[in-house]
């Protein structure tokens, strides 16, 4: 089990690093999905099978698909030129130093903790469900309202006011003026 | 209750003047004239029957709760000193309304609102016996003054009004910190948390802390007074303000600083004041000489008069830190005399400017021919300013110098050089403006009846104070003795005698 944890952790870190440094948005997203899957493995090892499932279903499944959907819609997945200057090695130095300092901070924090091995208690979905719908029942209601805000907001912001021609079709339209407009 | 009424009349009068200003430009003038006149009459009636009030600590004492959660009360009280200053306030206030009658033609309502609220703030300062209330009024008079300078001022008004506000506000906050510290020290000592002046008197604290707190108070009062390193705002504010603003600034607002020294700094921190006395006197002398020197160097007439204020207020500072009855009587006299004579000079400058639209000394000259009455007035006020015997300032400065002579001979000698300097710059005004060669030919009218009334009343007061100062001295006496008692207490306690 321990070995699996370390392997999964390594995979997660590497794929996250690749995701945030990738030039191609689609590829980056795929790396991110790999990372989420390996984190899901870790959740399983830590005794949270329900969360492991949710991580795959909601995070990797729903949210990432939403991302892919938008990227496809905007057709920027293949755009490589945009960030070239930002991906020069020089750009990474300062943020990395900052992050390194934070890492040192975390390490010093961890040193101060009493060395302890986890008991690895498995908490089953049933327990989680009972807790969720008794103690945290109001929390569930509140998240419903929160999602409502998200829905109304996304509806209002996402709607197009006037017809906007898809970038891909713009060129076509220039040559064929009678080409039908396409809504996004 | 009458004390509260004095302030409320001004406040409501101000609001009324503002509102009626929408429909007519005469109504606000009349309303403010009436409001101030009522206050003046009320104060005069108190002044005339002051013997009847008996010899308790205060002539009138009014106290009610305001914000009991913080130990803040609405405590107003009147003694001889406040009474004199109130009379002065309403007298000059009345004159400011009169002199603005023609000068201010725009936004008349709001102008009079500001005048009345400044007067209310000043009256409040002279009456408050609760330190929080005192600070409240102290700040209250700033905002309308800021508007007065900023809206009706001359060319450079915005800069001057900023400078005025920031200087006074910053120093006021230092005083505020001191007030709070005093409050807590007293509260911790006695368990009574209050801002009441009477209660806070005689709060015991260690010498360094007392000194520090005194410096906080001094900051506010010395900026207002003003004393030389802190005087920077004054020439700008005085020069840019409209005439009424200058009169109120020089005649009343500066006096709140002097009043604060007498009322708060010395009674609250007697030991610290004694320790500060040498420095205070030096500052006073520097103020006298430096102010006179700068006054002499000015070509802007209003600026010149402004700097004479710095010089005259140096005498107040000198007298306050001499700690004896004669000097204190002199200080009270100086406060009143300077208010009258400098106020009068500002009024004259205002009248000149109204006629020839300049304040540049080099452009004036030989105006006597056309305006003999104005010239005569100018001569009288200039003489008053230089301290000619028989006029008010002479009595004041003479008393101060006599008093200080007992305390510190060297300082007295240096200060009397200031008198010589005063002669030079005062005569320079008369020489440059009314006598001498005509630099430009101005066509101008002499004083109108309204202006004659204003100047005439000032002349009467200057002569009256110069020839019969006894009523003022009598009225101020209990307060002066009360203030000095706190100092004598210190000398007895210390078993030494710092004051000869």
């Amino acid at each position: 089990m321990n070995t699996i944890f370390y392997i999964a952790a390594l995979v997660a870190l590497v794929s996250t690093a690749l995701a945030i440094s990738g030039r191609n948005a689609i590829h980056a997203l795929l790396f991110l999905i790999v990372s989420l899957l390996s984190i899901s493995v870790i959740f399983f090892i830590l005794g949270a099978p329900f969360i492991a499932a949710l991580e795959v279903i909601v995070y990797a499944g729903a949210i990432m698909v939403l991302f892919i959907f938008v990227i496809m819609m905007l057709n920027v997945g293949l755009e490589k030129e945009m960030e070239n200057k930002w991906l020069r090695p020089g750009m990474w130095i300062l943020p990395s130093i900052l992050a390194f300092i934070l890492l040192i901070d975390f390490l010093s924090m961890l040193r101060s903790m009493n060395y302890r091995e986890i008991r690895g208690q498995i908490i089953l979905p049933k327990q989680v469900g009972i807790s969720l719908f008794t103690t945290y029942l109001l929390g569930v209601e509140i998240s419903a309202m929160l999602l409502l805000a998200g829905i109304v907001g996304a509806y209002h912001l996402g709607r197009q006011k006037k017809k906007v021609i898809h970038r891909f079709l713009e060129k076509i339209e220039e040559t064929h003026a009678e080409a039908p407009d396409t809504n996004l | 209750m009458i004390l509260l009424d004095l302030i409320l009349i001004l406040l409501t009068g101000g609001l009324l003047a503002w509102i009626t200003g929408k429909w007519s430009s005469i109504l606000p003038r009349i309303i403010s004239f009436i409001a101030i006149a009522i206050d003046l009459l009320l104060t005069l009636s108190i002044f005339l029957k002051q013997e009847g009030f008996g010899h308790t600590a205060w002539l009138i004492n009014y106290r009610t709760n305001w914000i009991p959660s913080f130990g803040i009360s609405l405590h107003l009280a009147l003694d001889g000193l406040s009474l004199l200053l109130l009379l002065l306030t309403f007298f000059l206030g009345l004159l400011s309304v009169l002199i603005s009658w023609k000068e201010i033609r725009e936004r008349v309502g709001f102008f009079h609102f500001n005048i009345l609220w400044i007067l209310a703030g000043i009256a409040g300062v002279f009456l408050s016996m609760d330190l929080f209330l005192f600070y409240f009024f102290w700040e209250l008079m700033l905002v309308p003054m800021y508007f007065l300078i900023g809206i009706w001022g001359h060319e450079n008004r915005t800069y001057a009004s900023y400078k005025f506000f920031l200087y006074t506000q910053a120093s006021g906050l230092l005083m505020f910190l001191s007030i709070l510290a005093l409050y807590f020290i007293h509260g911790r000592n006695t368990g009574i948390f209050t801002f009441d002046y009477q209660e806070l008197l005689g709060t015991s604290m260690s010498a360094p802390i007392a000194f520090l707190l005194m410096l906080g108070f001094l900051a506010a009062f010395l900026v207002k007074l003003p004393i030389v390193p802190l005087h920077n705002w004054l020439p700008d504010a005085h020069t840019e303000a409209p005439t009424a603003g200058s009169v109120i600034l020089a005649g009343l607002m500066l006096k709140t600083g002097a009043y604060g020294l007498l009322r708060f700094v010395i009674p609250l921190f007697p030991e610290a004041s004694v320790r500060f006395a040498p420095a205070g006197m030096i500052l006073g002398v520097i103020g006298i000489l430096y102010g006179a020197k700068l006054a002499f160097a000015q070509t802007d007439l209003k600026r010149l008069v402004a700097y004479t204020s710095v010089s005259h207020m140096g005498f107040v500072m000198l007298g306050v830190f001499a700690f004896n009855t004669i000097a204190y009587q002199g200080v009270v006299m100086q406060i009143i005399a300077h208010a009258i004579s400098t106020g009068a000079l500002f009024i004259l400058v205002g009248q000149l400017q109204e006629r020839i639209h300049t304040r540049d000394l080099n452009l004036m000259g030989g105006l006597w021919k056309q305006t003999p009455v104005m010239g005569a007035m100018g001569l009288i006020f200039a003489m008053a300013s230089l301290g000619l015997p028989g006029l008010a300032n002479f009595v004041a400065e003479f008393l101060i110098l006599t008093g200080t002579f007992r305390a510190n001979i060297l300082m007295t000698c240096l200060a009397s050089i200031g008198l010589v300097a005063a002669t030079i710059y005062s005569l320079r005004i008369v020489q440059k403006v009314f006598l001498g060669k005509e630099a430009t030919v101005w066509k101008m009218k002499d004083l109108s009846i309204r202006e004659k009334i204003v100047c005439g009343s000032l002349v009467i007061v200057v002569f009256w104070l110069g020839l019969f100062p006894q009523p003022v001295i009598n009225t101020a006496k209990p307060s002066v003795i009360k203030t000095l008692n706190s100092i004598e207490q210190v000398s007895i306690n210390q078993n030494t005698n710092p004051i000869p």
């Binding site: 321990n2 830590l46 329900f50 991302f67 905007l74 908490i123 807790s131 | -």
Partner: protein, 107 residues
């Protein structure tokens, strides 16, 4: 049973968080920034799972579920905003968003 030191677990979560932060600071593409934020949220959720397993409580997992809901709502609004942004500016570069300035201090 697993015996992984809790420090290692936290270190892992912290590293993920920092990777997300680096991504946010370095990338200018708004979609990548949003992805980095997701990484950070996820790592924070991981901390709750670790803590939950340390104390043997369900609270950590419940909190994770709420984080999931919030992340979903945020992403939906965020992506909607990104759509709008793309239609206005025709770019996803965050540096193009620089019109809000004081007129005097333009540089």
């Amino acid at each position: 049973m697993v015996t992984i030191p809790i420090e290692i677990q936290i270190l892992f979560a912290a590293s993920l968080f920092l990777l997300g932060l680096i991504g946010l600071l370095v990338r200018r593409n708004i979609i990548f920034m949003l992805m980095s934020i997701e990484v950070m949220f996820n790592s924070a959720g991981l901390v709750f799972i670790i803590a939950g397993s340390r104390w043997g409580q369900t609270d950590g997992q419940v909190m994770f579920i709420f984080i999931l809901a919030v992340a979903a709502a945020e992403v939906s609004v965020g992506l909607a905003l990104i759509l709008q942004m793309f239609h206005h500016y025709k770019t996803l570069d965050a540096d193009e968003l620089s019109k809000l300035r004081d007129s005097k201090n333009d540089s």
